[in-house]
């Protein structure tokens, strides 16, 4: 991809043009700019701002059978943050993110570095295979692993029967954390790997040659040049991983029916909100939960971006 250096805005304008013509051109510019972004503005207002505002509105009211709809102020929020189900769910996804994301990042960074160091057909094929799960719906991914986890007809049984040990159930109370972690890593590491790989390919190879002349080995080049050079791509995928994991829904929802009760209706905040809304018709409280989760995630991501001080370079 060729990078073209553009002139700073304003400089490219025709300087000698009469003032009137320039003003008309600028008005035309204004109008055209707005026309181009207007479809997005409509969708943005209808499906992001409106639901957000509506969620906030709903969350400030309660609906009772006898009392009807009454203003509740922040009661739904104090209820949410003292609700053991919600707190348990938030604690689970936070804990899950803290363990999962480093593993996921290590796998995708390791794969990207390994792929970057090899240029042959095997590397090309592996890149596609590692990326493959991205094209598979999370519903299907969860189902496949659910079967593979089965202690009675999964491959673990065969494997472990050689050693005369019984296969563990990877969705049992003690194991479900790791069982889910494996599924999510499998599902998303390839996508993150591709982003990192693309960033690695964008580095000027003459940097490596210079480092090699200075006596750096491959390992030092990877740690001192490659990883720092792809820092902004790394921050980007960390943000994606954080947002995705905190709103964890599909995999536990799908594995619920086959997990023998370890995945409860309040397993994650999103599952809890879904069940409140669609099993108990508590839309006001469910909205408060959704909104609280949104706030928690927004703050978490913002703090993360602030801590890495990549705000300026990532989103400008």
């Amino acid at each position: 991809m060729s990078v073209i250096v553009t002139a700073p805005p304003g400089q490219a304008e025709v300087v000698e043009a009469p003032v009137r013509r320039r003003r008309r051109a600028r008005e035309r510019h204004q109008l055209a700019g707005w026309l181009f972004v207007s479809p997005f503005v409509v969708v943005f207002a209808a499906f992001l701002l409106a639901p957000l505002g509506y969620a906030l509105y709903l969350s400030l009211y309660t609906k009772g059978l006898a009392t009807g709809t009454t203003f509740a102020g922040f009661k739904n929020y104090t209820r949410a943050f003292s609700d053991p189900s919600f707190r348990k769910g938030v604690w689970f996804v936070v804990r899950f993110s803290l363990v999962l994301i480093p593993v996921q990042m290590a796998v995708s960074l390791g794969a990207a570095l390994a792929l970057d160091s090899l240029v042959n057909r095997f590397a090309k094929m592996s890149r596609l295979v590692i990326f493959l799960p991205y094209a598979i719906p999370a519903v299907i991914g969860a189902l496949m692993w659910g079967f593979l986890y089965s202690p009675t007809f999964g491959p673990l049984k065969q494997l472990l029967s050689v050693f005369n040990t019984q296969a563990p159930f990877l969705l049992s109370q003690g194991n479900v954390f790791y069982g889910l972690m494996n599924i999510v890593t499998w599902q998303w590491a390839g996508y993150y790997m591709i982003i990192l790989y693309a960033a690695l390919k964008g580095i000027d190879p003459s940097l490596y040659e210079a480092a090699r002349i200075d006596g750096a080995n491959s390992w030092q080049i990877a740690v001192r040049i490659k990883i720092p050079m792809i820092a902004s791509a790394f921050v980007l995928i960390l943000v994606f991983a954080l947002i995705g994991t905190l709103q964890f829904f599909t995999e536990p929802q799908i594995l619920g029916p086959i997990a023998n009760g370890t995945i409860t209706p309040d397993f994650t905040p999103n599952i809890y909100a879904y069940n409140l809304a669609f099993s108990y018709a508590q839309f006001n409280y469910a909205s408060a939960i959704s909104f609280s989760l949104g706030i928690v995630i927004f703050i978490a991501v913002y703090v993360f971006l602030f801590a890495t001080r990549k705000r300026g370079s990532l989103f400008t």
Binding site: M1, A12, H29, G33, L35, F36, V37, P39, F40, V43, F44, F47, L48, P51, A55, L113, A114, S117, L118, F122, A123, M125, S126, L128, I130, F131, L132, P133, Y134, A135, A138, V139, I140, M144, F147, F153, P155, Q158, W186, G190, I194, I195, A198, G202, S218, W219, A233, I243, Q247, F249, Q253, I258, N270, F283, S287, S290, G294, I297, F315, T316
Partner: protein, 303 residues
């Protein structure tokens, strides 16, 4: 040119033949081989399991990762397409409809908006773009329940629009297009076309659009995948099963299968072969379009 490159490659290979370099390559190979196995096992299992009948699936002779003595794939597919008046095919058609309309719509909106943000300075641009960046951090599933309540007031839940319209929202697609357009479409080219008397629309369609093609393919693919794989939104919005996309339909079968085994019939075979069929279109799309999306994905890391 090629000879120079070949010579240089030979030279680097010679220098890489130092023990440290070779060792590192061995490590890289071993790591990648392990990863390939790991990422392929579930897919391999799915292919093998699709060929089994109900008995073979749970107590077959070959175990979980090898074929049973009964090869039942054709029967499984036939049953998949005819079970319950062919509801699977209906779900498949719905998935195609939602993914194409949602994906193409989201891409069009992203191209227009991305170009507008990159190439025009209009009143409110900075505020709007700041809101867009903030919205990338908003978890979209948090919007599902309020959107559902909102749409139920408009009596639009349980229609195709309840799935398609919210799928048009793609702040990240707009962001990608903006970043790409800022670099790939030079201002001088646009100004030259304007001096020649081209209207803004013509400048966009004839000058800018061809330059944006790699980013368009990428955003299109990403948004089609996003809609095709989406589960939470259609699960919440749709109650009549004839409107389900594949993800929700297969989820429904799974629930039926694990609660009562589908009324005497083993649904698990259908779930497995249905899963296999459902991943085929996207896998083919990614394999055939790989040159486009692999170059397009650099956009996110341009900065």
């Amino acid at each position: 040119m090629t000879t120079i490159r070949a010579a240089r490659r030979a030279a680097t290979r010679r220098s890489a033949a130092a023990p440290a370099g070779r060792e590192r390559h061995v490590v890289a190979y071993l790591f990648l081989i392990a990863l390939v196995f790991y990422f392929l096992i579930p897919v391999w299992w799915l292919i093998v399991a699709s060929t089994k009948d109900a008995h073979g699936l749970f107590a077959g002779s070959g175990g979980a990762l090898w074929f049973d003595k009964n090869f039942n794939l054709i029967d499984n597919v036939r049953e998949l397409f005819t079970y319950n008046h062919g509801e699977y095919l209906r779900w498949f058609g719905n998935s195609v409809l939602y993914a194409l309309t949602g994906g193409i719509g989201a891409t069009l909106i992203s191209v227009f908006a991305g170009y507008g943000f990159a190439k025009y300075r209009f009143v409110g641009r900075n505020l709007l773009f700041a809101m867009l960046l903030g919205s990338i951090m908003v978890p979209l599933t948090a919007l599902v329940i309020p959107t559902f309540v909102m749409m139920s007031h408009l009596r639009m839940t349980d229609t195709i629009w309840a799935v398609i319209l919210p799928s048009l929202l793609s702040p990240f697609g707009v962001y990608l297009m903006k970043v790409y357009a800022a670099v790939a479409v030079p201002d001088e080219l646009l100004d030259a076309a304007r001096v020649d008397g081209a209207s803004e629309a013509r400048v966009f369609f004839q000058v800018a659009l061809p330059l944006l093609r790699p980013a368009i393919v990428t955003v299109l693919l990403l948004s089609i995948v996003g809609t095709w794989n989406n589960y939470f939104l259609p699960l919440a919005m749709l109650s009549s099963s004839k409107l389900y996309p594949l993800t929700v339909g297969i989820g429904l079968w799974e629930q039926l299968a694990s609660s009562n085994n589908g009324g005497g019939q083993s649904l698990w075979n259908l779930i497995i072969v249905g899963s296999l069929v459902s991943i085929v279109p996207l896998v083919i799309a990614f394999l055939t379009l790989q040159r486009h999306w692999q170059s397009g994905l650099t956009i996110g890391s341009l900065k």
